[in-house]
Assembly symmetry: C2
Homo-oligomer: 355 residues x 2
């Protein structure tokens, strides 16, 4: 039976990423050593990280003046690194879900952190649109895709102050206007690589403006100066990220993948809307193209465990919804083929027929 991995993260990666990484673990570049054991300062690895940086720039059309970093620690470490480096007096946060809320919480340790709007009262089922960002904020922080609640900001918004975005779960899913952002970060374990590497795209001229001392490992300027090699970077996850970036370029880049992502999401949401058993809790205009949340209609609620079992038996892996939303969540990141989405739709339709 073909298995489809709908996990929210770590999550499905292109087959070629796995194959090339497994290959390089046994013998990297034919040098007779493993990618796990080579020095990060070797020429062979420098080529890997340089190409990964170059593909970030090319695929996301990143303008001059930005640096790309590959760090350890996860996006959660960025929740404190961002205020450490950028918050002098006040920061503004848009509270669109669990992760946005966690980011906001960390910022409060460093200064005033204003929640400009929140959809918490509606279990984060939509992205607030009416809010004012204080003009004197040092930055405005958003979470572009809310993995748990299945909502997504589909455009690059305008911000009166430097814009910081957690794009852990939708980076590389669509073209971006990077010039609108001061800093973009994310854990790599959705659209890029196995867990263990975090990317940061940072506009250099927003740094160096806070008065507090910053520990070296938390200081973006130190990582920029050292080309992500102030300490030993996560070599294998970076190698894997490079394979995914090459795969994405081969496929036609972010414009091509956006088309595929829109098509996959449309198919699945159409089925959720059509199928009398299911409904989607997220506001229609904010529906995520990456994490499709759905629950059973109230009158069929008790069928949820049965459908989960039915779907798992047909090879749908990782579709149990997060406990905050319940029901189901199908994460259909870049690497999920349309066949996987179709297999899930078939499940939903076959289950409906039985009821």
């Amino acid at each position: 039976m073909k298995k489809y991995n709908f996990s929210a993260g770590p999550s499905i990666l292109p087959r070629v990423t796995m194959e090339k990484t497994a290959e390089a673990i046994m013998d990297f570049n034919g040098i007779g050593l493993s990618i796990m054991e080579i020095s990060h300062r070797s020429k062979d690895f420098q080529v890997v990280i340089d190409e990964a940086v170059a593909l970030f720039k090319e695929l996301l059309d990143i303008p001059e003046g930005y640096s790309i970093l590959f760090l350890g620690g996860g996006a959660s470490l960025q929740f404190c690194m961002v205020p450490y480096n950028l918050l002098e007096k006040k920061a503004a946060y848009l509270n669109t879900g669990t992760w946005a809320n966690k980011a906001l919480k960390e910022a409060k340790l460093f200064g005033e952190a204003v929640e400009v709007a929140s959809s918490k009262e509606a279990n984060y089922s939509y992205i607030p649109k009416d809010y004012v960002v204080p003009a004197d904020a040092d930055y405005f922080h958003i979470t572009t895709n809310n993995t748990i609640f299945g909502t997504e900001l589909h455009t690059d918004i305008d911000s009166p102050v430097p814009l910081v975005a957690d794009m852990s779960s939708d980076i590389f899913s669509r073209p971006l206007d990077v010039s609108k952002y001061a800093l973009i970060y994310g854990g790599a374990q959705k659209n890029l690589a196995p867990a263990g590497v975090t990317f940061v795209i940072v506009k250099e001229d927003v740094l160096g403006k806070v008065s507090r001392p910053i520990p070296s490992m938390l200081d973006y300027r130190i990582h920029i100066k050292n080309g992500s090699m102030f300490n030993t970077p996560p070599v294998v996850p970076i190698f894997a990220a490079l394979q995914t970036l090459r795969w994405l370029k081969e496929l036609g880049g972010v414009k091509a993948i956006e088309k595929i992502n829109i098509d996959k999401a449309a198919r699945l949401y159409d089925e959720i809307d059509r199928n009398r058993l299911f409904k989607g809790p997220a506001a229609e205009e904010d529906r995520s193209f990456m994490n499709v949340c759905f629950v059973m209609e109230d009158e069929y609620k008790e069928l949820e465990p049965e459908f989960l079992d039915f779907a798992v038996k047909r090879g749908m892996s990782g579709i149990k919804g997060h406990r905050s939303v319940g029901g189901f969540r199908a994460s259909i990141y870049n690497a999920m083929p349309v066949e996987g989405v179709q297999a899930l739709i078939d499940c939903m339709q076959d289950f409906e027929k039985q009821k």
Copy 2:
């Protein structure tokens, strides 16, 4: 030609660690999914991290009251996490090399950090023995093995205040009396796993005594409470670490590997002392069993590039010394077989015969 990897880190790992990791990247546990794409919250991965923790406890004979963490960010992040969590007023540091010095530098951001002794004036060629640790220090920080300078503290010292040790490059190389330490940490990329995971062994009752607020990701208590899963841990490096721990147990544990390590180091140092071309810069009693530094005798100094070339052509990889010491450095971590050490000795002898 058989290649031997003498790199200081990332460095040689047991062959089985590479094989099992490559295998699990293609299919983990026969579940039809890759270790790169499974959820860290899946039962399959919980088993991995639980066994890794259990093997830490078993192999190092860790007493009750200690927690074992697997974190991201590298040992360099611990340089600031240690003072963040433990330094209220004053900390004491033993300056035995580049990394010890970096750790000390970070501590200074958090309070008074006293250098109790330093061998910097002798290019860190020995480990200071005569020093007094202030009785009112919150902790005393040591670096047990100095990768760059090839010195090592071969015993578990007594400290009048909680003892904190960076054991990045000699963990699991010998039995430890963990009860003498409040906290032991290290990057995994020497004796354990590929770069990207950091281990922390921490005595729980030393935590919670500082008054400053600690960002969640830098707070050991939060990681303990969440079993290293406050955020997504580096899944693949942790899986690889488990394979190395199993290999070590199979081999007879730290007592068995210590015997092998002493034998390997003795052979190489004996050759350095015997061979008229070479000498070792580290003080004899402090010679590292992990990183064997050697240079050419002054009258043969100009032969260094020639020997490097000679050795590389015979499959000795990564033996160029760090620029701070020059000459050569053979890192002979746990996974380096005695055959590798012998091959290097043969190189040194054959080169000597030519001169």
